[in-house]
Symmetry: C2
Subunit: 478 residues, 2 copies
């Protein structure tokens, strides 16, 4: 063999000959990474200069030391979600267990494709998924799979819905006599449109249902739309409800929508990517009443359970629907007699063992720990809500049902045409003067500030700081 | 606030107050994990007892120490790909850079959904992807995205193909006058069928094309099938060629298939999930001649480039096709003026920054290091091939074109009806007596042993060990 062209630490030698070098290399790297994260608060929620090394694929190794330097530079060029002022999105700082578990997952590089290639993790995934199905009261036949993100979870749910209700698995959509159609509120996540596009239904197959002033689907409008579609010669097959809308965190009337889908014999999918976490809190889980009527549920622990990306899943009330309406066999894989190969019932084939960081986070924080995190964020949200309510020129986009507040200033001393600009100014002012970063989504054709109280290190003082920032900007611009 | 119900190390405090505890916890955990991997060779390629802790979601934290113990148990219950005898699949031991980078990725928990949520990693992904497009000679307009696994890469390629060729993005498939159909060799990966099913084309829309004795698509059969489909009133829109078939690692005639798709105005997708790595070797990249004709390519560094799962991508010759035929906008995201939000042109929305471990592996090993790894595995494959060729009762499934050998014994002293059983016996004998594990796929209705020489610690002695194992089993059963 030729002389080795890559560094001694490129791989962990299975006979232990480079163990000391590997331990040194990894320890140095991890020390630097931990230092970056544990000093998050000294920086801004957003990166300063974005510095990208300019050689994507060098001919020769750059060596251990320079790799660590470059990694540090990249982390400092990234958003800083551990900063308690980074509050714009449903993207939390990660549990420590996630970091360790993702390192462990990479180290054995097992494959969720089949039981043979991930004997422990395949079992673990099914064990955890079934437990979560129970927490949603989906019954004894329920099961599901982890997916690399919520868009895939929604896509898989709608694929099963389409195949089950319209028998399209073998022969496809083209021969259907009528155009299939599904319903979701007008503020449902765009992944529903994307899924409809991918599934060959077309983006125009998603019929948007009007919402009330709290962004909740109006059930009378849903009923009317279903009837109208039938009269128009279309083929309704599915309704998507949302538990935790993207912009305002509202929950559709899950119970009532479930009754309508039962009456109409439509598939009922609940996108609880965000709100699903409420089943972990005894104080708040009743906000999801009715979710047990769902045929399928999307739930993302990567959001309110603080598990590092990606941690998402799709659950089915009846595993037989998943298997019969989705499974594509892979003859090159060993068949396990007792257990199904997860790659055969998943959108994905080869798949990262995302289960380990989810499982490790559950073990390390416990159900009660997550309950506390959820309850605490409600308390802080209420506190901020109380403060905002008494500021004259502040308008709320909806009554908060979760840990999300979406608001905007409508200052009377400025013409309404300039309110968007004023709110953008407020966003910038909070970042520059208070190291607080909110997002600025467009909602009902206007710009709103949006904050998601999703950081264990946010406390009463942080809320006071936010309040101070807003009031001093108001004074400054008055 | 209530008393904290979870351990002090549950999160890294952004003001550094628990830094020492975090460093201790993480160091202990990583030391244990590294010890498991660096002693891989003392164990078997497969796990012994599979031991799963039985409390998926405990009420209270189990604490730091027990979490580390459980993680170790789970790793020991996993397959052991660092063992040089673990050679059954396209699943390698991971680069050390992957482990460090996945830890780093989790630590900042950025989101590939948008530039705003991953400013460094979004840029890095585009930089690396464009460089790889150049290596495939796809031209100046080429680009792509990373996907969480090759099945998603194939799915996205076929979604773009369908939307571009049949204009199904907005209105869907149902109104097409004829049934759409695509072509792939009969040994193409099952993810093509799965994709067709998901895309609403139906599993029956994939027309399997016969292959020659080396598992390569017969182009005359392809031309005949396209003509037949047109005569049958169907709508051909795409051909999928494979560079690195799953069972035998063969390559379809890429150049000739490219010419046919150009003539017929069909989308040309090349599934180079496995074989794409050959562009990293100056000695072997000409095996992919013709791939530059592709409209889209799937390529998975998670296989022959040893990057931890998942590391996969889909590349498009013309980024405009991807954008115009796939993009679904997300109004809640900040739009970057210069850069597209990757979540809008990806199957996935929220996505793990898989780019970091790919980039870090490139930096740490270098293009020449990967070339050496590839060239070395060819040398060892040739060595094993030479040894197998001279064993009388051994039959090869095809002439190896990569680092995969698929073979079976057809011992004359046993009735052919019992050959499958004999080969299963050989698989078990090699595992028990030589710690060598091959897979046993079904191919042309028979059981074959399959080995993928995909471990940097396999050497000439390992090949001799394999050879010895096979010859002693033959003697034993004679």
């Amino acid at each position: 063999m030729d002389q080795q062209k890559f560094p001694a630490n490129a791989f962990i030698n299975p006979s232990g000959t480079n163990k000391e070098g590997i331990e040194n290399f990894i320890s140095k790297a991890l020390h630097r990474i931990i230092s970056v994260i544990s000093s998050s608060e000294t920086r801004s929620p957003l990166p300063g200069e974005i510095d990208i090394p300019n050689q994507p694929i060098p001919e020769e190794s750059i060596g251990d030391e320079q790799l660590i330097d470059h990694l540090e530079t990249l982390l400092l060029s990234s958003i800083n979600p551990s900063h308690p002022g980074w509050l714009p999105h449903m993207d939390p700082p990660p549990t420590t267990a996630s970091l360790i578990a993702d390192f462990a997952t990479a180290s054995v590089n097992n494959n969720m494709l089949s039981v043979e290639m991930s004997p422990a993790f395949s079992r673990l995934e099914q064990q955890v998924v079934r437990k979560i199905c129970q927490m949603f009261n989906l019954g004894q036949k329920a099961s599901g799979v982890l997916c690399s993100g919520g868009s895939l979870a929604n896509l898989q749910a709608l694929a099963v819905a389409r195949n089950k209700k319209l028998s399209t698995k073998e022969g496809g959509i083209q021969e259907l006599p009528k155009k299939p159609i599904l319903f979701a509120s007008k503020v449902a996540h765009t992944s529903i449109q994307k899924a409809a596009m991918i599934l060959g239904l077309g983006q125009d197959s998603v019929q948007p249902i009007p919402v009330d002033s709290d962004s909740q689907m109006i059930t009378e409008e849903l009923e009317a739309a279903i009837n109208q579609a039938k009269n128009d010669g279309k083929l309704p097959f599915c309704v998507v409800a949302t538990a935790g809308t993207t912009t305002t965190g509202n929950i559709d009337p899950l119970e009532d929508i479930g009754s309508i889908t039962q009456q109409e014999n439509l598939w009922y999918h609940v996108d609880a990517a965000y709100g699903g976490a409420l089943v972990f809190s005894n104080s708040h889980h009743d906000k999801l009443a009715g979710i047990s009527k769902a045929d399928s549920i999307t739930f993302n622990p990567q959001k309110w359970l603080y598990v590092a990306k990606t941690s998402a899943m799709v659950l089915f009330k009846d595993q037989d629907h998943l298997v019969n309406s989705f499974k594509v066999g892979a003859p090159y894989m060993e068949q396990d007699e007792e257990r199904i190969n997860l790659g055969e019932i998943s959108l994905q084939g080869t798949r990262h063992a995302d289960i380990l960081k989810l499982w490790a986070s559950f073990q390390h924080i416990g159900r009660k720990g997550f309950q506390q995190l959820i309850d605490q964020s409600y308390q802080l949200t209420n506190l901020l809500h109380d403060k905002l309510k008494v500021i004259d020129c502040i308008q709320l986009a909806s009554t908060p049902k979760m840990n999300i507040i979406c608001f905007r200033g409508q200052p009377k001393w400025i013409t309404s045409a300039r309110w968007d600009e004023w709110n953008k100014g407020l966003q910038e002012y909070l970042l520059e003067n208070h190291k607080i970063f909110f997002s600025l989504p467009t909602y009902n054709d206007s710009k709103w500030l949006r904050t998601v109280i999703l950081n264990p290190f946010v406390n009463k003082q942080s809320i006071n700081n936010i309040n101070q920032g807003i009031t001093s900007y108001i004074r400054k611009t008055q």
